[in-house]
Subunit: 157 residues, 2 copies
């Protein structure tokens, strides 16, 4: 199992924007991200879960330096997309486990989640692909998270 | 922009489990995924967005053949994790855009979202990493989604 995790990556200077309570209809994701991309802002993580009662949350992270640009863009699209509230959080960091064949091992993910929970690191966002588990945690906890995961997966620092 | 998308992947025989309304405290993700991994079930996508009022939704997909195993496992953990309801949906498929350097191009994501919305394909889940945009759509729409994305990004079938 350990053999499949090849490294831990992290990124601190990010800011998270969450549009809480958007309508789950075709076009919503484009109405949010289209204007952001037109403003030439680089987006990192995009995450959206299933809707319940027709509403869902749409979250994306950008570099901290783009905070004002994104706020302006979202101000302009406010009338085009209905959402209950905008949650902006700059007190975050991204931590990723990188490896190959990870997907087939819920064990890797659960091992990472266990190690973080034993060290009181709350996981705010989780998003996985075949070779990567991406998590967002509180900025102050990212160093601890990276250390805990290095130890858990027996990786060199 | 197009140059950065190298392919489209899809997977049909999946089933999506969503624990709606879990507590956003350390240990929750492990309590859900630990038993699933102990049962040797292969998990594909795991996605969780930020919590609002201390609650969030935890979704993961597995192969359709593992439906009964996962249901049994979740039945056993029900008392250990508080959640409002379990939503199980086998009418889904995964569609992914694969490429390099994709992250830096919100443009790629917004282009994909636009093309899908113009063809009335609703996106149920979105989860991105640097080289991949993963989406979950209704099973009946996956062929159309793949075709639309091939055309949009000028890829060979
Ligand atoms: C919420 C958003 O993803 C919507 N379902 C869409 O397809 O654009
Ligand atoms: C919801 C779940 O991810 C929780 N925040 C945890 O850390 O386990």
């Amino acid at each position: 199992e350990n053999a499949s995790v090849s490294g831990i990556a992290f990124q601190k200077d990010q800011i998270k924007f969450t549009l809480h309570g958007v309508g789950d209809v075709p076009g919503t994701a484009f109405k949010i991200l289209g204007p952001i991309s037109d403003a030439e802002v680089e987006v990192d993580v995009i995450v959206q879960n299933v809707s319940v009662d027709g509403k869902t949350d749409f979250t994306f992270t950008v570099s901290s330096e783009d905070e004002d640009t994104v706020k302006k863009v979202l101000e302009n699209v406010k009338n085009d997309i209905s959402f209950k509230k905008l949650i902006v959080d700059s007190n975050i960091a991204k931590v990723s486990l990188v490896g190959v064949g990870m997907r087939s091992q819920a064990g890797v993910a659960s091992k990472a989640f266990k190690a973080l929970s034993e060290n009181d690191v709350n996981i705010q966002i989780i998003c996985t692909s075949e070779i990567k588990i991406t998590m967002v945690v509180e900025k102050d906890l990212v160093d601890k998270a990276v250390e805990v995961l290095h130890k858990e997966f027996e990786l060199e620092k």
